[in-house]
Amino acid sequence: MKPAAFEYHAPESVADVVALLAEHGDDAKVLAGGQSLVPLLAMRLTRFPHIVDLNRVSDLQGIERQNGSVTIRAMTRQSVAEHDAVVAASAPLVAAALPKIGHFQIRNRGTVGGSIAHADPASELPAVALALDAELEVASRSGSRRVPAAEFFEGTWTTTLEAEELLTAVHFPVWEGSCAFVVDEIARRSGDFALTGVAVAVAVGTGGAVERSAIGLVGMGPTPVRASDAEAALNGSTPDAQDLAEVGRLAVSACDPSDDVHASAEYRIHVGAHLVQRALDRALGEARGG
């Protein structure tokens, strides 16, 4: 399996990247960690005349906490974020999702921004970004803008990024107070694509009632899904086990997951509801205990 021939560019600054994207538009594709793009190229499921390698752009590396959010620059390796103290302390939902991506060899190359920009609905980080209302910083030759995660994911492998735009950083809001964060998923084998998965965050008040919740679903449709109705039902309540089962069913009720050789849509719906219930149960226990 060999990719079709392409012209290779290795710019060293964001300015040079966006200049190349402005010049070549749809003919150019940025190469981040390559753990998804290179197989697609090798199998010739896609081809581009120009590949713009981001691996030499040092400005796209790094993690920092600022003004209530954790900023992870787009080319930060997943393995680096996975072992980062700031991510562990201030973006625990991201920290919980990272070890579930592929295998350690994949995370050594794979990047946080690459996973989000690739927008595979079976990936963990897009669902986490959506659940946390992350803001995606996007650069082009005409400047930069911030896109809310809710306006970013358009369909399987497609986003609202324009051809001349580059995802440069992801800003994950920090949750304060008595919070807990859980990522859970079902896959055939450890490290495989999740058949279905869930990322939840909860904050509880002094009485143990839910003050705030966030539920992101993996593999439950062509994009990551935010279970807003289930969050609304949860917020302000002090749910028992039966209530959580109901919240789980509500979370997946509007989902239209794929029906394929890996799992039927019915199976994904059934398991998805249970995963939401189980993750919320665990998160609430941790949030009240902590």
């Binding site: 399996m1 392409f6 012209e7 290779y8 290795a10 390559g34 197989p39 590949i51 390698d53 050594n108």
Partner: protein
Amino acid sequence: MAEHEITFTVNGQSRHGRAEARKTLADFLREDLALTGTHLGCEHGVCGACTVLLDGEAVRSCLMFAVQAEGSDIVTIEGIGPADGSLGPVQEAFRQAHGLQCGFCTPGFVVSVHAFLQQNPNPSLDEIREGLSGNLCRCTGYQGIIKAVQIAAETMSATA
């Protein structure tokens, strides 16, 4: 398409070559540098047979282009053991525990386990299984490989 000049360090030696940008690091190692110990199974990042160390970290050499390795330090299975050609502790443990049968997947496993034990010198059984999950073996049923990791961890910590 234009060829690119590539210079990097492989198994401690500076190597130089030319390749089209679309040539993977795995193909470059095998075809241009004749380092055929790096195996290619699936060629899309699933099987782990092509694992090499890139600046000390285990990566799939089928999922990066040779041109991207410019200036980096690569270790392949040929360079993982001592220079005199004897077996390193991971290789010796694989032999001792029958961690291989046909041997096709073995270079990838040995390189991965080498990196894994650098990060986690005293892994639990669950951590070993998780650490091995990125490499496929169709012969052994993995039990011998798990045992090999345990033996290698012991010998490496005893000599460390």
